[in-house]
Amino acid sequence: MTTDAELIRRYQQGDGKAFHVLVTRYQRQLASYLRRMVDDASAADDLFQETFYKVIKSLPRYQEQGTFSGWLFGIANRLAIDYLRKHKRQTKIMKPVSQDNSGMLSPDILDPHAPSPEEDVKQRELKKYLKKAIKRLPAEQRQVLLLREHSGLSFKEIAAMLDCPLNTVLGRMRYALLNLRKMATNDFGELDNVL
């Protein structure tokens, strides 16, 4: 597979198709990231457009420092945070869960098994549920969770992007996962029984 750096170099030399390959490579992750960050499909589409507007504007002068993915998601992240600041809404935000409430799990749930049709339906419902639950996380936790899952950046890279200590990023991630688990357990039932 052609690397991002190579595609950028080709685009800078006038190969428009290279840019389309680059976009195709990241469009779903980026769209998913933005839609889950701002919880408004139309606003997310605008931010997606603005992200690529900035990319198109800067790409001719782009010099690789870190990964393209990091740069791309850095732009998208700044836009999403700006959007959230401008559109502060009264969304139902989970109170961060304390470590005491994390619950106890059995490790045997890690064993893979083929789901029955009922289980399959339940799993699909869970996915839909979690998609919504992510949007209810506090913004800082949601941001780290989505960046880690969609951008392919490491925690260290995310910490550098957000200009905050690695431990803070890890803390947010941990609480994001704990909060999701708590929400799913409260509203949906035990994750262990579904997955």
């Binding site: 976009v23 469009q27 779903r28 992750q29 769209a31 998913s32 839609r35 589409d45 605008d46 997606f48 457009q49 603005e50 690529f52 507007y53 990319v55 198109i56 504007k57 470590q99 005491d100 994390s102 619950g103 106890m104 799990l105 059995s106 490790p107 749930i109 890690l110 799993q123 869970l126 996915k127 979690l130 998609k131 992510i134 969770l145 880690r148 899952e149 969609h150 490491s154 925690f155 260290k156 690695l166 431990n167 890890l170 803390g171 991630m173 941990r174 996962l177 704990l178 999701l180 688990r181 799913a184 994750l191 262990d192 997955l195």
Partner: protein, 195 residues
């Protein structure tokens, strides 16, 4: 709940970001700590649940349209930048104070020249230059305004917002209509006194 020492280590382990020697230590700890094993399993379940959520599908026609708009925004911005540079070259070829000083000197000079010139009916070289400059300036401002209104009329909200942003990002002190008024009034002043 993880043992305090390993709460971040566990997360890094889960996301495969742990350095080898630290990983060894962590695995050793896991083999003796039931609490951490359970907590890790819990995190892993939630991580898997999050990863099982499919990425959002974005219709290719939608992507195409978004990219086209982004491209249009970027082109509009480039065009505007070059127009602004062009305008600035005409409007502000030297520092403002020097410009005003020169204009004032020109007025004095032209007033003086007007009264002593034996060829009153023919414009002098300086006058011709000013006339030409004036014509160029008007032409530039006209074309700038045409381009601007075209971009404003044809562009969508993003393009308009982009144009607004560009004007401010480029530290343009005034909006174009003000720039135009200001320059034209200065020119009228000079012309009134000299022609």
């Amino acid at each position: 709940m993880f043992c305090e020492k390993y709460k971040n280590t566990a997360l890094l382990y889960l996301y495969d970001e742990l350095e080898q020697d630290v990983e060894k230590d962590f695995l050793k700890h896991l083999s003796t700590c039931e609490k951490c094993r359970q907590e890790l399993a819990s995190l892993k379940t939630t991580q898997e649940a999050v990863r099982s959520i499919p990425l959002d599908d974005v219709e290719s026609s939608r992507i195409e349209s978004i990219l086209n708009k982004a491209q249009a925004g970027a082109s509009a911005s480039e065009k505007l930048k070059s127009l602004m540079n062009h305008a600035r070259q005409v409007i502000n070829p030297m520092p403002r104070i020097a410009w005003i000083g020169t204009a004032a000197l020109a007025v004095i000079f032209l007033l003086f020249f007007w009264h002593i010139s034996p060829f009153e009916s023919e414009p002098t070289m300086n006058q011709k230059r000013l006339l030409q400059w004036d014509a160029n300036l008007n032409e530039t401002i006209d074309s700038l305004e045409d381009e601007m209104s075209l971009l404003m009329d044809n562009g969508d909200a993003l393009v308009r917002e982009t144009i607004d942003k560009e004007l401010f990002e480029n530290k343009t002190e005034h909006r174009l209509d003000h720039v135009r008024d200001e320059i034209l009034s200065l020119y009228k002043e000079i012309n009134k006194n000299s022609f």
